[in-house]
């Protein structure tokens, strides 16, 4: 049992537990905090995989940006001390059935499938490579998606402002 | 330019003209001019048709134009006319012209009303000139759809219900029809080769018998619904009762004729084998229509219902005669279509005018109208006499030709149904005279009515146009009869090859 393994299992356990807590917690702010833990644990997994940049993005954007956004909106729309009522049991059972059957199916597929693991030497995914490829128009270049995503973000920003603007 | 194109272009120009008018006055004047031009064009067409025939052109169809507009499915804009189409076009122009004058005083949204009316007429014109099944179907739909708007928006009574019922039943008919048409299309090249929608080309080949047996009922019933075939006629009473005047006129006068026309031009012409085999079923159904419609009319109290049932009876006679499949009877069937078109239009025009004054259509609430509005009353009597088959008016010519034709089958079955159909002339007399007696004669029931006025000039234009046409056919039927007879030959050849 190496430290790596322990770390992995720790992150895995945190992800699953906090995920469950996120969707079952009856206080909304707590749910948001549990979500934050999930996201941070995910970032931990990225670190574990040696994807530092990805992990950083995860931490900054997800854990930092989105969760803060969510918490703001919670503060704007809900009473923090309000406790949700338990959803109806039939609804819970139906949703659980759907989710568990889906999960069962997916797991069955994954576990039956033999993945052909890549043997090529790994590329160094440091900031230089990422930056170069992201703005490259060559093979393996991601300039076009980059531009598209930036336009999408701009559009989303404008849309968010217009939608949330009060009145006409 | 080909004269047939005018029948599509003039209405379109009229619609553009209507769109550019500012007020009610302009709208109806433009419509009247447009439809007047249409009427003149159709008279010119008759003249040109005769000229062409006299010049020795004995092609089945004249003035043909062929323009491919959907290559992958081999759909053509293919138009052409024979004597029958010419006669039907003339009928349509007369009825539309009269219809415009009958709706001279539409109050709400006159522009939209006239546009829908003219779109409807365009569909009908297009249907009668098309020789391509798909184009024909397209025009058919163009004619049916505005009906929904016209009844739903400008109708009276339970108009939404009626509009919905009419449209749905006719659409149901179209659905059957579409199956039939595609059946024909996919069997149009039984020995391989290009599939086609061209009626003339399909008539040259023989569709396999199994396919005919399967698709003939679809096509025949599909068109038959529009022709008020029993038991698919129930849209007609409700639809007519709710429709505004001009729409009832066009609908009963012209649109129902699409059914009869389609039945022989498509169903019987292209699938003669099945027509022979299955004729007996439809003969029974149509004989029922004829008698049943007449009896149904006796009990009605609403003028429009009476006429709607009478239309069921008369249109039943059209299909009945077509199914007799001999020259005389089919000739009679076409004359009956035209005659019925004119006189029903006249009836509905008059009912609309009477309703516009008395605000009721119940015969037992009226009485003695002869004294109050003699012009309309006399016209109504003339229409009634035409309907019960008085010699000198068109109905007689049509009915007699049909009966003589139907009697040319010496077997007992045909004779019995013919005699049954003949008996409808007595029943017709009963309900017509009942209406005339209660509505027009007798004492005035309601003193309020004494203040009412007789027809205005535009109403006179409308009714007189129709009466002249009815009388013209009734007094000199031979030109119409011969015009049709010569064009029946291809169909008869086709039918007699089985």
């Amino acid at each position: 049992m190496t430290a790596y393994k322990i770390m992995f299992y720790l992150f895995a356990a945190m992800i699953i537990v906090f995920s469950i807590l996120t969707v079952t917690s009856r206080r909304i702010l707590r749910a948001a905090v549990f979500l934050l833990f999930v996201l941070i644990s995910t970032a931990g997994l990225y670190f574990w995989l040696d994807y530092q940049f990805m992990a950083g993005v995860q931490l900054a954007l997800y854990a930092g940006g989105i969760v803060v956004l969510i918490i703001f909106s919670i503060l704007l729309t809900s009473h923090i001390d309000q406790k949700f009522s338990q959803p109806h049991w039939s609804k819970r059972i139906m949703a659980a059935t759907a989710a568990l059957s889906g999960m069962a199916l997916c797991l069955l597929l994954f576990l039956q499938h033999t993945f052909i693991v890549g043997t090529n030497p790994p590329i160094k995914n440091d900031m230089t490579n990422i930056g170069t490829q992201l703005l490259s128009t060559e093979h393996n270049g991601f300039a076009l998606p980059f531009e598209v995503i930036s336009i999408l973000l701009l559009a989303a920003m404008i849309a968010a402002i217009i939608i949330a603007k009060k009145g006409k | 330019m080909n004269i047939l194109a005018l029948f599509i272009i003039i209405p379109i120009l009229t619609i553009i003209g209507i769109l550019s008018t500012k007020d009610h006055r302009g709208t109806r004047i433009v419509s009247a001019i447009g439809m007047g031009l249409q009427l003149i064009t159709s008279v010119v067409l008759i003249y040109m048709f005769y000229a062409e025939r006299n010049a020795g052109n004995h092609a089945d169809m004249l003035f043909m134009v062929d323009y491919m507009w959907f290559e992958s499915l081999n759909i053509h804009y293919l138009v052409g006319v024979d004597g029958i189409s010419v006669a039907m076009i003339a009928l349509t122009s007369v009825v539309t012209f009269a219809g415009v004058f009958a709706s001279w005083e539409v109050k709400d949204l006159p522009r939209e009303f006239f546009i829908s009316l003219i779109v409807l007429a365009t569909g009908v014109f297009g249907f009668f000139i098309s020789l391509d099944l798909f184009t024909m179907f397209l025009f058919y739909e163009v004619a049916v759809i505005p009906m929904y708007l016209l009844i739903g928006l400008w109708g009276s009574g339970p108009k939404e219900y009626s509009a919905m019922k009419l449209t749905l039943m006719l659409m149901g008919g179209s659905a059957l029809l579409l199956v039939g048409l595609f059946g024909i299309y996919f069997n149009s090249a039984p020995n391989g080769g290009q599939l086609t929608f061209n009626i003339l080309e399909i008539s040259k080949i023989t569709i396999p018998m199994e396919a005919q047996r399967f698709f003939f009922p679809f096509t025949f019933i599909g068109f038959g619904i529009l022709g008020a075939l029993f038991p698919f006629h129930t849209w007609s009473p409700d639809g007519h009762a709710s429709a505004p005047t001009a729409v009832s006129m066009l609908h009963a006068g012209v649109l129902m004729k699409l059914g009869g026309y389609g039945c022989f031009r498509v169903a019987m012409f292209l699938m003669p084998g099945a027509a022979h085999e299955l004729a007996w079923i439809f003969i029974i159904l149509t004989a029922i229509s004829v008698v049943y419609g007449a009896f149904g009319a006796i009990w009605q109290k609403d003028l429009k219902y009476i006429n709607a049932y009478s239309s069921v009876s008369h249109c039943g006679l059209v299909l009945f005669a077509l199914l007799m499949m001999n020259e005389t009877a089919m000739d009679g069937a076409i004359i009956q279509m035209i005659s019925h078109g004119l006189m029903t239009a006249l009836f509905f025009a008059l009912i609309g005018m009477i309703y516009g004054r008395t605000h009721t259509r119940m015969i037992n609430e009226m009485g003695g109208l002869m004294k109050i509005m003699p012009f309309l009353a006399v016209c109504y009597v003339i229409a009634g006499l035409a309907s019960l088959g008085l010699p000198g008016l068109s109905g007689f010519v049509a009915e007699m030709t049909i009966f003589v034709g139907a009697f040319q089958h010496p077997d007992t079955f045909h004779r019995v149904v013919t005699i049954l159909a003949c008996s409808s002339i007595v029943v017709t007399a009963v309900y017509i005279l009942r209406v005339v007696g209660v509505l027009l004669f007798g004492p005035v029931r309601n003193d309020e009515f004494l203040k009412l006025t007789d027809a205005k000039w535009f109403e006179k234009v409308s009714t007189v146009t129709l009466i002249l046409a009815v009388a013209f056919i009734g007094i000199v039927p031979i030109w119409l009869s011969d015009l049709i007879r010569l064009s029946l030959k291809p169909i008869l050849d086709q039918l007699s090859s089985f």
């Binding site: - | 004294k371 008996s423 007595v426 004669f441």
Partner: protein, 639 residues
């Protein structure tokens, strides 16, 4: 060769008058339209007389037989290769005779109506309709083919409808006109089917063909039978049904008494002299066919005619409305004519019945028109139709009285008035053929004399009731026709009919059979005597007789309840048992089925639309399940 092409004007003038008066009549003064119509008809009458003169006296005969001439014959409608409907003018003895009858009576009625209808609303309309009727009747008479006859037959029916319903504001007139039209229409259905049957075999509508040797040969040799009768018999019986409808033979007679709702001149013209004999004319027209191809049909005709004449005569004895008495008398006399045709043979002496029938038609037209116009004059004077409200009128209406008496004597068959001669021939024909019918006719002759003189004595003698204002004689314009027709009634009996109008168009000699003639005059005299005893003076004898007869009298008075039977059939059976259920069936079953389809669709859609709950999570749930299901299907089942 004498050209008859001018005869077309006999048709053109009345129809022109109809259009002129119908369309522009309102622009004229009433009297002008009356005069115009009368002048037009006068021209027609003169043309008809000229045609008759030329035909009978100038036209050379072929093999001693009168020729049959097609003066005009144009194709009106092509029906099939062999069948065409033509329109034309056919000249032969009976059509010429009918031209004379129709135009004479019509002219008299036109003239008479100027006085009778004076001041009526719709005077112009009346004249327009009269012209239309005259046109149609003349067209019927000169028809060259059976279909032209049918066409004009219908037109005659419509003009009759319009004229009966002339007083359209009176419900009884409207009902009567409707009844007349529908009953005759029903009969015409038989006529039409008969024509269709006949023409199918003879391949022609033309009288020249179907009553010529070819047509007779074809119809005679028809082997097809239906219900035990040959097709030819069926066809001819059906055609006779049409004739029976127009001529109001039992049991299709019910419309004629009601038709008296029309103005009296109309009754004189249409329902006495011309239209109602169209049935007789029709049978006469097709007589060769009946005689050779369907003698059974002729027997039926003779019995129908005989029965109707007796039946109507009995009813006539009990009626009080003078026009109805005359109407039943008309029925009875037409029955005579039918009977004469029925008992006739073809050719020469054997055809005496045919000749007699035509002869009686001719004389009857004259004296019955006279009777009706006289009745009109009486009604005009006292403003009532009921003989109870009349009496002693001979002082006030001298001319009417005299002419009416002449007419009564004529119809009673007294020597030497015209009725005597024609009735005598009929009796001779019946005597030679069928003794039963012969005795029936004797009885009817007596009854006829009785009811006519009952009428005569009640109206002109008897007790004078209290008149509101003193009755006065009608103006000259009304009495001139009376006088003319009275003269005609007296003298037309001397016309040599057997030399002119015979079944095979060959003249033959007749002589009066004294064995028949003397008793017939005697029985007429007996009838008159009884009427004299009962009705000359006001007395109680009649009441006693009526009481003695009891129920029998009531039955007869109510016309044997035939009308009620018809009412039952039409109102109860056709309306309530057929039409109403049909209407119900249509609304509820046929339409209910269609609505049911729509209803099922709506119901289904209402069920299905519950799935569109608007709840996002429902959608998501089904989305997930759906995705899983598809995954399962595509991964595991799709191989």
């Amino acid at each position: 060769m004498i050209n008859f092409s001018y005869t077309i004007w006999i048709l053109i003038i009345p129809i022109f008058m109809f259009l002129l008066l119908g369309l522009l009549g309102m622009k004229f003064k009433p009297i002008i339209s009356g005069v115009l119509g009368t002048i037009g008809l006068g021209v027609v009458m003169l043309l008809s007389y000229y045609a008759a003169y030329q035909y009978f006296f100038q036209l050379p005969r072929i093999d001693d037989a009168y020729q049959q001439i097609l003066a005009h014959n144009i194709t009106w409608l092509n029906l099939s290769a062999s069948l065409q409907i033509k329109m034309g003018v056919f000249i032969d003895p009976i059509s010429v005779m009918m031209l004379v009858v129709v135009s004479t009576v019509s002219f008299m009625v036109h003239l008479y109506s100027i006085g009778y209808m004076k001041g009526e609303k719709g005077f112009q309309r009346f004249y327009a309709f009269l012209s239309l009727f005259t046109f149609s009747m003349l067209g019927l008479v000169v028809a060259t083919n059976i279909f032209q006859m049918y066409i004009f037959w219908e037109l005659v029916g419509v003009s009759s409808f319009l004229l009966i319903g002339f007083y359209y504001e009176r419900p009884s007139a409207v009902a009567a006109s409707k009844k007349a039209f529908i009953v005759t229409r029903f009969a015409d259905l038989g006529f039409l089917v008969g024509i269709l049957l006949l023409s199918y075999y003879t391949k022609s509508f033309d009288f020249l063909n179907i009553t010529g040797p070819v047509g007779i040969e074809v119809t005679r040799n028809l082997t097809q039978t239906f219900l035990g009768m040959s097709v030819a018999t069926w066809a001819l019986l059906l055609i006779f049904m049409g004739g029976a409808g127009k001529s109001a033979m039992f049991p299709l007679h019910i419309w004629l008494p009601d038709a008296m709702e029309g103005p009296t001149p109309v009754s004189a013209l249409i329902h006495a002299a011309t239209m109602v004999v169209a049935g007789v004319y029709l049978v006469a027209r097709l007589f060769p066919l009946y005689s050779f191809a369907a003698p059974d049909a002729l027997t039926v005709i003779s019995y129908v005619g005989g029965f109707t004449s007796l039946f109507a005569a009995v009813i006539a004895c009990t009626q009080f409305d003078i026009k109805r008495v005359l109407a039943f008398s008309t029925l009875s006399q037409i029955g005579y004519m039918m009977l004469a045709l029925g008992v006739s043979g073809y050719g020469g002496e054997k055809g005496v019945g045919y000749m007699a029938s035509m002869f009686h038609l001719f004389t009857h037209a004259m004296f019955k028109a006279l009777l009706f116009l006289g009745a009109g004059s009486i009604i005009h004077a006292v403003h009532s139709n009921y003989m109870n409200e009349m009496g002693g009128l001979r002082k006030y209406l001298p001319i009417t009285h005299l002419t009416f008496l002449i007419a009564c004597l004529t119809i009673a068959g007294l020597f030497p008035l015209s009725g005597f001669w024609s009735k005598d021939e009929i009796l001779v024909a019946a005597y030679e053929h069928n003794m039963l019918l012969f005795w029936v006719e004797y009885l009817v002759a007596g009854l006829t004399a009785f009811y006519m003189f009952r009428l005569y004595f009640r109206v002109f003698w008897n007790k004078e009731p209290h008149y509101h204002h003193k009755p006065h004689e009608s103006p000259l314009v009304m009495t001139i026709p009376l006088m003319f027709l009275a003269v005609a009634s007296i003298f037309t009996g001397f016309l040599p009919f057997s030399k002119m109008i015979t079944s095979d168009r060959l003249p033959f000699e007749t002589e009066t059979n004294l064995m028949v003639a003397i008793p017939s005059v005697a029985i007429g005299l007996v009838g008159i005597l009884i009427a004299f005893l009962l009705y000359k003076k006001d007395n109680t004898r009649v009441e006693k007789i009526v009481k003695g007869l009891g129920g029998v009298y009531t039955t007869i008075y109510n016309k044997f309840y035939i009308d009620e039977v018809y009412m039952f059939v039409t109102k109860k059976i056709i309306f309530n048992l057929i039409s109403r259920p049909v209407a119900w069936f249509d609304r509820h079953v046929v339409d209910g089925f269609m609505n049911g389809i729509a209803g099922v669709t709506v119901l289904a859609s209402r069920k299905i639309k519950g799935a569109q709950s608007g709840q996002l999570q429902h959608y998501a749930f089904f989305f997930v399940l759906g995705a899983i299901a598809f995954a399962l299907i595509f991964i595991y089942l799709w191989q």
